[in-house]
Amino acid sequence: MKISNILKSLMVGIVLTSCNNQLDIQPSTSVDASQALLTSKDVKGTLVGAYANMGSTNLYGGGIYVYSDLLASTGTDINFFGTFQGLTQISNKEIPINNTFVSGVWLNAYTTINNVNEVLAALSVVNSVDRNQVEGEAKFIRASMYFELVKLFAKAWNDGDPNSNLGVPIVLNPTHSLDDANVAPARNTVKQVYDQIISDLTAAETKLPPPDNETYYYATTGAAAAQLARVYLTQGAYDLARDAAHRVISSGYYRLETNYSDEFPYIGRAVRIYNKPEDIFALQISEQQGTNNMNNYYAQSNLGGRGDIEIASDFLNTFPGGDSRLSMFTDDGSGSLFYSDKFDNLYGNVKILRLAEMYLIRAEGNLRMGTTVGNAPLSDVNIVRNRAGVTPLASVSIQNILDERRWELAFEGQWLSDYKRSATDVATVPATPWNSPSLVFPIPQREIIVNPNLIQNEGY
């Protein structure tokens, strides 16, 4: 064969060989959506993904609590010294509408909601034995996200009329296509959002099992009840809050740690620690997955944190004498500013709901309703005080309970909600009224732009 013939055949061969199938390349690190929800295991895997998303840094990885505490800060309790300008803005209560921490909360929460909506829409694929549990966990996650959103992005339940105050948009169906994504939901009312939360949590409480051991960390019936207790407390529905808290306490699955510091353990090195018996629900952090965002902002830098937030001695001075909770602070060398040691463990879990708060909710519910369901309010408060090594109270007032919450739940994201539901102004100079629009996040600018049906919050 002559060279020219060889070449000619070669050329024709190359040119004519169909390479078309070479254009069909499948992704190998992701899965095509059409292949992602075919089996029961697929759906359960998606539920696991929802936990991962719920644990993102902006949400229950700690962000939600850090941002809300900074918004409630006065300068005489917690101080933000870090370089993240978005957090300085939150701390100063002057939030531009394009603050990325604010939009991060919004976006990540709705991503998590879409995850569980996918799970709920595919419940029929789940094997029947696990179906209730999958549904209950999904609804717990969805309700928790809506609860956090409505607290941060809408007026408080007791600030005007929740029937007309705007909450956040309720989305209950998964997004499968651009058409789904183009739906432009308007903001539901605060009341509608709370109704949805209560409906999901009530369903979750019935459908979910109790924890099967002390370190169990997925959502349980107790977690749903505890979250419900908080929801009712925020609404001022003290009887329902009391009852829900009582269901958690009386379930017997949880117990207080002997020492306050045992609930926030640091064993000298960063190590994953599963739930403690006091934890009703906590987001888990491991060396491989999740980020403990509380550690990031509160812990000193040689513990993995940035040490951005320091605690003023004024706040420490408000604690009762001999309070063992004061042992969880380290002087930064100035004598006036301290680091909190509650989050020293880089891989510690992030507490979302713990038993001590349930005692305080039951106490407040009973005190406000004049009842003694489960226990007398004074005894419940003293359970918490005893554990902290503080002299028991002889009598208890609402203010005592609010103070106790402030100490016991310090930096756990409850301050802002407590100011608002108790109509207590924030003691900045000058004071910020409890119902000030500056204590509500703006609807993120990017969201207002893409969704014309959204109305911006007052003051932005």
Binding site: S4, L7, L10, I14, V15, N20, Q22, L23, P27, S28, T29, S30, D32, A33, S34, D42, G45, T46, V48, Y51, A52, N53, G75, T76, Q85, T88, E94, I95, P96, T100, Y110, T111, N114, N117, P169, V171, T175, H176, L178, A184, P185, R269, Q284, I285, Q288, Q289, S301, N302, L303, G304, G307, G333, S334, G335, S336, L337, E447, I449, V450, N451
Partner: protein, 1019 residues
């Protein structure tokens, strides 16, 4: 500019004798510019068939009668005619034919005569690229091609470089051009894992490059179809010439320093400023003991001294250094009629101006061409490179050296309490300090951390051509670009304040990118009377597979173990194989009539794995025409006009540089503490296709005085539609973006190129000047506002990346509050220019454009006898820079304890003060939100390269058996003229750089100012 044609050869005429006598004439033909012998010159006695050609030494010998005229002809050079006189030896110097200068240009799948070109192709010759002491080829191209804007992100070596050819044409897909080396598209995407881009083209030894052609308009680029919208850069490497073997050795050594510094407060000024800030804060908020607090902080930062000014540290001195560099290049080229070769090697060792940064490159190349028969040629290019880049953290890390400026000047470099670096050890805990100095001290990373990226790169290709009939040739090429990279990082336990990881962290990646291409095409050329045809057509297939793995590990027994095998805990591991492919068919036809009417049609059909099922193939046609007016008979009277050509082109090109699976609906892994999980990650778009850019170009080529002066003027319009846009969707859907073909943008501009031979002869002076103006505008964004960083946005009606935010209005003269212009709309429609101290009350407005309006460069080359001088200026005009670090370093001391720039001394102090710096207020964030406060003009003009060389006289070097010896001194970035007060105006913070994020300075290293001394030896 008086023409002084070298006429000394004609002096020979004076001694002409009229005696008709046959005699042997011999001599040597050399080139006028470098004295090198020219082989293969046709030496013919005019009017006869008698003749010969010069040998490899340029020598010839023939018999001629006295008075006969000998003609010397050689392609690319002016023909010389000599009348035979008394001399037996006639040496001839041949000059480059200006008319044919740069005649051949490389185009897609072929070459063309520049005269016949109807598209816009910028050519940069090897002489303009070689020997420049920079890391990568783009840097050596800066300022040398019209309409090509080249910007390094910062002064770190081997990092990302922005190249924009006629503006940015995309928002979400890449805006970088397609790079093609010797016909094979190469991997030019960053393979970095540290959040700052690397530049895979830094693996190329650009001293191997013979020429770079930049295809700018649609006519030139459309043959590269779906990847040509950002222009195509064709890099052609050197090949051997038949003749004697030439060796060349080039060596240089030099030193780099920073081009500029920022001015920061000294110890006394810092103490004054912070104390004043505390006093002012206390006056506003008596509830917090600011003054006492400030004193305790100052004492802390002064290493415990109550005399706060015990130390006065200029931290910039710690991280900047005089960085040595050395490079040696050797090459050999030559061959005979059948086989030609070019062999080269390079070793380059560059140190960065920032401590800890260095880049080494070792390359070897062999380009071989063989002519098997008259019809069959083949050849191979083989290139191997190894680069080793000792990298720094990206600009957004406390450990990046320049963030050291945030440390207080009152802090000593070495803590006297421990005799160790400040921050390295807290005696009370035995661990690194947690809050001394203000931030992590980057000096700790110098000895306790490393990040080494090592790349092994193999660019190889083989070709064969077969000529079936005269004019009909088939060419087949197969090429592979294999990039193997390892990254090895160890962050020691002392870096915990930066990393958040006690007991060390190791990180290791391997990346293998195998990118192979085959091109197969036919070429047919035919001239029939006044008609000339040139047809090219064929196919191309490219597949690229990227396999990457990475491991992160923690808990090391001690810092002596720096490899992940010493770690107790694997915290992350990943493998990410990904692929893409392109299958393409292309064709081009050029037609020329009467040597003056030119027409060219080209097109490419591209299919790609990246696009939706419904839009897998795209078609990219282009048409262009040219009219060489100077060939017309009516032009013959205008003798001074050497060339006048009008060109016009129109065509479509595409942009396909998006992620490999952007059209799919996807779920991605979302594990939760040991349990496998997944979550939806992307919405499906089966319609996803190319971005399409329709480009129109009108050009004029004009040269006069025997081509001594030539002009090129182009006007273009590039309209891009179907933008590949990561469009914001409603966050309530659970997704944030959706990649869709929506939106339009356009670029239009003009380009001027002037080259002139101002003096020729013994004293030579040549100038080449280019200037380009580009206007970028987003015309349709479906109502969106894109951009997530402080100020850069994509907005309809504005250029890409425009700064958008609040307009700063200086300090309130009554109380020192930061003020912003309201910019709200009055009821009558006018703009309220009143001011407010409420940041949120001020409307966001367009504050400036990070894209330059004009970019250009001018090169002047002088030579006289053995001396040569080259001066290159380069500049940009009309762009703005946002100092994103301003909120910390120029914050009225109101945002923490960062050291402040000296301009903060102008802060408001007393009622009535008029100043642009608000009152100093510790922690009050007085005017630190992103605003026009931190935007300044970024125009600059730079003396890019200055080279002075001296060629030793022939007499001296021939004794050394050499043909050439040149010693030179060169300076890079010697002078920079700018109003920018930062380190350097050529900046785009590496941690944030993107299509939209441009013109941001964030503790970014300045460009190096490099002085080198070198020697070129040829033998």
């Amino acid at each position: 500019m008086i023409k002084r044609i070298p006429i000394f050869l004609w002096l020979l005429l004076l001694s002409t004798s009229m005696l008709a006598q046959s005699r042997v004439i011999s001599g040597k033909v050399i080139s006028i510019e470098d004295g090198q012998p020219i082989a293969g010159v046709n030496v013919v006695i005019k009017g006869t068939a008698v003749g010969t050609t010069t040998d490899v030494d340029g020598k010839y010998s023939l018999t001629a009668n006295l008075g006969a005229v000998i003609s010397f002809t050689f392609i690319g050079r002016s023909t010389k005619e000599i009348t035979v006189g008394e001399q037996a030896i006639v040496d001839v110097s041949m000059d480059v034919d200006a008319k044919q200068l740069g005649e051949v240009v490389v185009v897609g799948y072929g070459t063309m005569e520049k005269r016949d070109l109807t598209g816009n192709v910028a050519q940069i010759s090897s002489a303009a690229l070689n020997g420049i002491p920079v890391t990568s080829i783009e840097q050596s191209m800066q300022g040398k091609a019209a309409g090509v804007f080249i910007e390094s992100q910062n002064g770190k070596l081997g990092q990302g470089i922005k190249v924009r050819i006629r503006g940015a044409s995309s928002l979400s897909a890449s805006n970088q051009p397609l790079y093609v080396i010797d016909g094979i598209p190469v991997t030019s995407q960053s393979q970095s894992s540290n959040g700052a881009e690397t530049n895979p083209l830094a693996d190329l030894n650009f001293n191997d490059v013979a020429s770079v052609e930049i295809l700018k308009d649609a006519s030139a680029a459309a043959i590269y179809g779906s990847r040509a919208a950002n222009g195509v850069v064709l890099i052609t490497t050197k090949r051997g010439k038949s003749g004697k073997t030439n060796f060349s050795i080039n060596y240089f050594t030099g030193v780099s320093k920073e081009t500029g510094r920022r001015q920061f407060l000294n110890a006394q000024q810092y103490v004054d400023v912070e104390s004043q800030a505390a006093t002012n804060a206390a006056a506003l908020d008596p509830s917090f003991p600011y003054v006492a607090f400030n004193n305790s902080r100052l004492q802390r930062y002064a290493a415990g001294n109550t005399n706060y000014t015990t130390y006065n540290t200029d931290w910039q001195n710690q991280v900047f250094r005089a960085a040595p560099m050395n490079q040696i290049d050797v090459s050999a080229s030559g061959g005979n009629d059948k086989t030609r070769f070019f062999v080269s090697g390079q070793y380059s060792d560059q140190n960065g101006i920032l401590i800890g940064n260095s880049f080494k490159r070792l390359t070897a190349r062999m380009n071989l061409d063989h002519k098997a028969t008259d019809k069959f040629n083949f050849g191979i290019n083989f290139n191997f490179a190894r680069t080793e880049n000792h990298r720094l953290s990206n600009d957004n890390f406390f450990s990046t050296p320049l963030q050291i400026v945030a440390l207080s000047p009152i802090t000593p470099t070495v803590d006297p309490r421990t005799s160790l670096l400040s921050g390295e050890l807290d005696n009370s805990t035995g661990l690194p300090n947690t809050n001394f100095p203000v931030y992590y001290n980057p000096m700790i990373s110098v000895n306790n951390a490393h990040y080494v990226a090592t790349v092994y790169r193999n660019w190889s290709n083989a070709y064969a051509t077969y000529t079936f009939l005269p004019g009909l040739t088939f060419r087949s090429e197969v090429g592979a670009d294999i990039l193997f990279q390892t990254e090895d990082q160890y962050l020691g336990s002392l870096t915990v304040r930066d990393t958040g990881t006690p007991n060390g962290q190791g990180f290791n990646t391997t990346t293998l990118v195998v990118n192979y291409t085959t091109n197969n095409y036919l070429k047919f050329e035919k001239t029939m009377g006044l008609h000339t045809f040139d047809l090219t057509g064929g196919m191309s297939f490219q597949r690229s597979r990227n396999d990457g793995t990475s491991i992160t590990a923690q808990q090391f027994p001690s810092d002596a173990y720096k490899n992940i095998s010493g770690a107790a805990l694997i915290v992350a591991a990943s493998a990410a194989p990904t692929n893409f492919s392109f299958l393409s068919y292309f064709a081009r036809g050029n037609y020329k009539f009467k040597d003056r009417y030119l027409l060219s049609l080209s097109g490419r059909v591209d299919g790609s794995s990246r696009f939706g099922d419904d839009n897998r193939y795209g078609f990219f046609p282009a048409a262009s025409a040219g009219w060489i007016v100077s060939e017309e008979s009516f032009m013959q009277n205008f003798n001074y006009v050497s060339n006048l050509k009008l060109r016009a082109s129109y065509g479509l090109t595409g942009n396909a540089e998006i992620s490999n699976f952007a059209s799919r609906g996807l779920y991605s892994p979302a594990p939760y503490v040991g349990a496998g999980g997944q979550a939806p990650s992307q919405l499906k778009n089966p319609n996803l296709k190319w971005e399409t850019t329709a480009q129109m170009d009108i050009g004029l080529d004009f040269s006069i005085l025997n081509s001594r002066i030539s002009f090129e003027i182009d006007y273009y319009q590039k309209k891009t539609s179907d933008l590949l846009l990561a469009r914001n969707v409603k966050g309530t859907s659970g997704f944030q973006t959706y990649i869709q073909n929506v939106g339009n943008l356009e670029n239009k501009g003009v380009e001027f190129v002037v080259s002139s031979q101002n003096y020729v002869g013994e004293f030579k002076w040549a100038t080449s000047f280019n200037l380009a103006h580009n206007e970028n505008k987003i015309t349709n964004l479906a109502g969106q506002l894109l951009g997530t960083n402080d100020l850069n946005r994509a907005i309809e009606g504005q250029p890409i990346g425009v700064f958008y935010g609040r307009e700063f209005a200086g300090a309130d003269k009554n109380n020192g509050d930061a003020l912003y212009v309201l910019n709200t709309k009055n009821p009558d429609g006018s703009i309220n220019r009143g001011t407010t101290n409420d940041f949120n009350a001020a409307q966001q407005v367009v504050l400036g454009n990070p894209n330059p309006k004009w970019v250009g460069g001018i090169t002047n080359n002088f030579s006289y006898k053995g001396i040569d001088l080259s001066i290159v200026f380069q500049g940009v005009q009309g762009n703005k820079i946002y100092n994103a670090g301003g909120q910390y370093m120029s914050s009225s001391a109101s945002n923490g304890y960062d050291n402040q720039t000296t301009d903060q001394l102008r802060a408001w102090k007393n009622p009535g003060d008029v100043t642009d710096v608000p009152q100093l207020r510790l922690f009050f964030a007085n005017g630190v939100n992103p605003s026009s406060r931190y935007i300044t003009d970024g125009s600059y003009l730079r003396l890019k390269t200055l080279t002075l060389g001296y060629n030793l006289p022939k007499a001296v070097i021939s004794r050394l058996k050499m043909e050439k010896m040149r010693i030179y001194f060169s300076a890079q970035n010697l002078l920079t003229f700018t109003a920018y007060k930062g380190w350097d105006p050529e900046v785009n913070a590496d941690a944030f750089a993107s299509n939209i994020n441009q013109g941001q300075d964030f503790y970014s290293a300045p460009q190096p100012k490099t002085y080198t001394m070198g020697i070129n030896i040829g033998f």
